[in-house]
C-alpha cells in the first residue's frame, strides 16, 4: 500500500476565519468569548462593508458574504492580490438558499419562481464568486465529502503545490446552521436534545453535540514568507477505523512517516465535540499518547459541523504563530514548557471520519 509520504507539505501564509467566536480580526486571539445556551452557535460577523461593495452587500446571501469576507481577510493577510488556485469545502453547502428555494417551490406550486436562490445554492457558488472577484482563472474545485471535505481540499492543495501547478492556493471551508438539518440531526442523535451551554458541553456526558457553523480560509504556499504562520507538514485521513487500536496505529504510523513521535508533539488540538458516545477514541488518544503536551479543544467555541476541522487547523496554527495558548481553549491546566514547535490536530466527525494534521514552527 502506498502512503502519503510523497507529499512535501506547505506553508500557511495567511488565514481568515469567521466563526461563532470573534475570530475575523487576525490581531486578536479569542480574547472576547460568546456563550450560547440553545445548542446552536452562529457566526460573529465582521463589518461586511470592510470587504464587500454595495452591490455585493445587496445581492449576496449571508454565507456568500461571510465566505467572500473570510477569503478577503486571508488574502490581505498573506499580502496577495489573488491566489493561483481556489479550493473550497463544505458539508451541506448553501442549505439556507436551497431551503428557501424549495419552500417557494412547494408553497407556490412551482410557479413564479426567481432563480436567485437556486443560483446561489450550487456548492461551488463561493469558489466561483471568489474567482470572479479576484479574477482568478486558475484551478477551481469544491469538495463535499462530509468529515473529509476540508481534508480533501487541503490534500488537493498539497498536490497542486507538489505538481508545481500553483505557488499559492486558497483553501477554505464553509458551513452554516440550518434548522432543517438541525431537526434531522437531533432526531438522529447527532445533536443533543437537552439544552447545554457551550462552555459546559464537555461536562454534559450526554450523546450528541452542539450545532455550529463557520468558515476558515488559508493561503497554502510552497515557500514561507517572513510572517508565515507555520508549516503544514502533512495530513492523514482514517475512515471508519475498525477499532481504537487500528486508529492509534494509523496515528503513530502517520507521525513516524513524517519523522515525528507522540513525544515531539507540544500542542494537541483535540476535535472532541462533547458527545459522550463518539468522543471516546479521541480522548483515549489524548490520554494514552499526549499526557505531556498542552491539550486544547475547540468545538465548545464553534459547535460541530462537517468542516469544523478547519477551525482546529486555525487554532493549532495560531498557537504556533503567536506562541500563546488561549485559556478558553485549554482542555486541562497547561504544563509548563519551552517553545511550542509542533502541533497535532486530531479531529473526528461523528465518530466516522478521523483526520490528523501535523504542524511545525521552526
Amino acid at each position: 500500500m502506498l502512503t502519503d509520504q510523497t507529499i512535501a507539505g506547505c506553508h500557511i501564509n495567511g488565514a481568515g476565519v469567521i466563526s461563532p467566536q470573534k475570530t475575523y480580526d487576525n490581531g486578536d486571539f479569542l480574547s472576547e468569548l460568546t456563550h450560547y445556551d440553545d445548542n446552536i452557535l452562529t457566526c460573529i460577523l465582521p463589518n461586511f462593508k470592510d470587504y464587500l461593495n454595495p452591490f455585493q452587500m445587496r445581492r449576496l446571501s449571508r454565507m456568500l458574504r461571510m465566505g467572500l469576507s473570510a477569503a478577503t481577510i486571508c488574502l490581505r493577510e498573506a499580502g496577495l492580490k489573488k491566489p493561483d488556485a481556489i479550493i473550497t469545502a463544505t458539508g451541506f453547502g448553501f442549505q439556507w438558499d436551497m431551503g428557501k428555494f424549495l419552500t417557494e417551490i412547494l408553497e407556490q406550486q412551482e410557479q413564479q419562481l426567481t432563480p436567485t436562490y437556486f443560483m446561489q445554492s450550487t456548492h461551488n457558488a463561493l469558489s466561483g464568486l471568489i474567482a470572479l472577484f479576484f479574477k482568478c482563472m486558475g484551478y477551481n474545485s469544491t469538495y463535499t465529502s462530509r468529515g473529509f471535505a476540508f481534508e480533501t481540499a487541503l490534500h488537493d492543495a498539497l498536490l497542486l503545490l507538489q505538481e508545481k501547478e500553483a505557488q499559492h492556493v486558497l483553501v477554505g471551508s464553509f458551513d452554516e446552521v440550518y434548522h432543517v438539518q438541525y431537526t434531522d440531526y437531533v432526531r438522529l442523535g447527532y445533536i443533543k436534545r437537552e439544552k447545554t451551554n457551550n462552555f459546559r458541553v464537555f461536562e454534559a456526558e450526554t450523546e450528541g453535540t452542539l450545532q455550529g457553523e463557520g468558515m476558515a480560509f488559508f493561503i497554502m504556499s510552497d515557500q514561507p514568507k517572513p510572517q508565515s504562520w507555520c508549516r503544514l507538514k502533512n495530513l492523514h485521513m482514517v475512515y471508519r477505523p475498525s477499532d481504537y487500536a487500528g486508529l492509534a496505529a494509523e496515528l503513530i504510523e502517520f507521525l513516524r512517516g513524517n519523522g515525528a513521535t507522540p513525544g515531539d508533539v507540544d500542542v494537541l488540538v483535540n476535535g472532541v465535540s462533547g458527545d459522550v458516545v463518539r468522543d471516546r477514541w479521541n480522548l483515549d488518544l489524548q490520554n494514552n499518547y499526549f499526557d505531556h503536551a498542552t491539550a486544547v479543544r475547540f468545538k465548545h467555541l464553534t459547535g460541530e459541523y462537517d468542516t469544523a476541522a478547519s477551525f482546529g487547523l486555525w487554532l493549532g496554527a495560531k498557537i504556533l504563530k503567536t506562541q500563546t495558548v488561549p485559556e478558553a481553549a485549554l482542555a486541562s491546566p497547561s504544563p509548563t514548557h519551552g517553545p511550542l514547535k509542533t502541533a497535532l490536530v486530531c479531529n473526528h466527525y461523528l465518530g466516522k471520519y478521523y483526520s490528523f494534521f501535523l504542524l511545525t514552527k521552526e
Binding site: 500500500m1 432563480p115 482563472m137 484551478y139 463535499t144 465529502s145
Partner: protein, 402 residues
Amino acid sequence: MNRRVFITGYGVITAIGGNGPENFASLRDRKCGYGRLEFLETRYQDDIYCCEIKLSDEALCRRAGVSTGCGFTRTTLLGLIAIREAIASAGLTEQEVRNAGLVSATTAGGIRELEKHFFERQDLQSSGDFITFLDTVDPGEHMERLADILGMKRYLATVSTACSSSANALLFGARLIKTGLADCMICGGAEALAKITINGFNALMILDREHCKPFDQNRCGLNLGEGAAYLVLEAEESLKRYGKKAIAELTGYANFNDAFHQTASSPEGAGALKAMRKALKMAGINPSDVDYINAHGTGTENNDLSEGLALETLFGVNVPPFSSTKPYTGHTTSAAGSVEAAFCLMAFENDIIYPNINFKQPMEELNIRPTTALKTNAGLKNILTNSLGFGGSTTSLLFAKC
C-alpha cells in the same frame, strides 16, 4: 512521480440504457431518452420533458441488489448500479477494489428525497417513511454509502462543482494515481432528477420546451436528464499485476475558471479554451491530432456559442468532428462529465463518432457545424471531452486509445 493513468473499465446508466452496451446501442441507433416524466412528481410533467430513467426506485433497488426501505436515495442507487458495472468491466472483483479510492460527484444528492417530506420532517413529533432519509440530504452521503457497500476506506471524496463535477472527480482521481498516492481509483458521478433542479433551470429560463438542439441557430435551451457513470482508473503497475489491457489512457486534463459570471460562460469561451489547450499540451499532441470532440453542447444559447468560439479559436479552420450527446441523455448535470467520458471510451471500442441529433441550421456566429451522421471506421486515436458548469467551472479531459 509522474505515472501514466489508464482506464480499464466503465459503467453507465442513463435514460438511454441501464448499462454500457445498452447506452451504446441507443447512441448508434439514434434512440433518445427524451420524453414525459413518469417517476418525478412535478406540475411540469406534461410541459417539460426530460430524459428520465424509466425505472422506479424499487426497481432500481432490485437492480442494485439492495433492499427497499433502507434509505437508499435514487442518486445512490444509480451510482451503485453504474459502479458495480464499472468494477466488473475492469475485470476486478469487489474484493479487489477495497484498496482502491473512490471519488464520486453529485450536486443534488438526496435532495429528491428531502423534497418529498420537506415540511413534515421539520416537526420533531412527526413520523413516516422519511425517517430513513434523515441522514441523506448532503452530497457526501451517497459517496459514503457507496464506499460502505464496497468496503472502501482510502481516498474517499465527493466533488460538487455543478455541471463539471464528475469531470473534476476523474481529474482528481487521475492526479492521485499520477503522483503515486493510489494505484486504482474509481471515479465518476451520480445524479437523480429533482424538483429543485427542474424548477431552478426553468426559473433561469434555459430549458427547451422541445427536444434540445445543440449548436443549432434556433437552439433554445437544454433538456435535463439523470444518470450515473464511473470509470476505473489504474496505474501501469496495476495493469501489469493483473495482466490487463486498458481501453484508453487519460493523457491530458485541465481545470480552469472562466471568472466571468456566476451562471454563464464568457462569450468567447476563455475558460474552455484554456482548459482544452492545456489538456493537449499535457498530452504533448497538436490540435490536428484530435480525432473527435465530445462537446459539452447543452443547447443553451450561451454555452454553445462560448464553447463553439473556443473550438474555433483553438482549432482554426480545422475543427475536428464534434458532437454533443446531450439530446440522447439530457443534461445529467453533475454526472455529465463521467457519462460522456464513458461514451468516449465506447467510441474508441467501436471506432464510431456519434451524430449530433437535431442540428439543422448553423449558428450565425460560427463557421463550424457538428457531425450529424453516424461515422463508422472513424480511426479514433485521441478524443477530447469538455465539461462546463455554473461558477465558471471548465474542465477538459483528453483520452488516447490503447
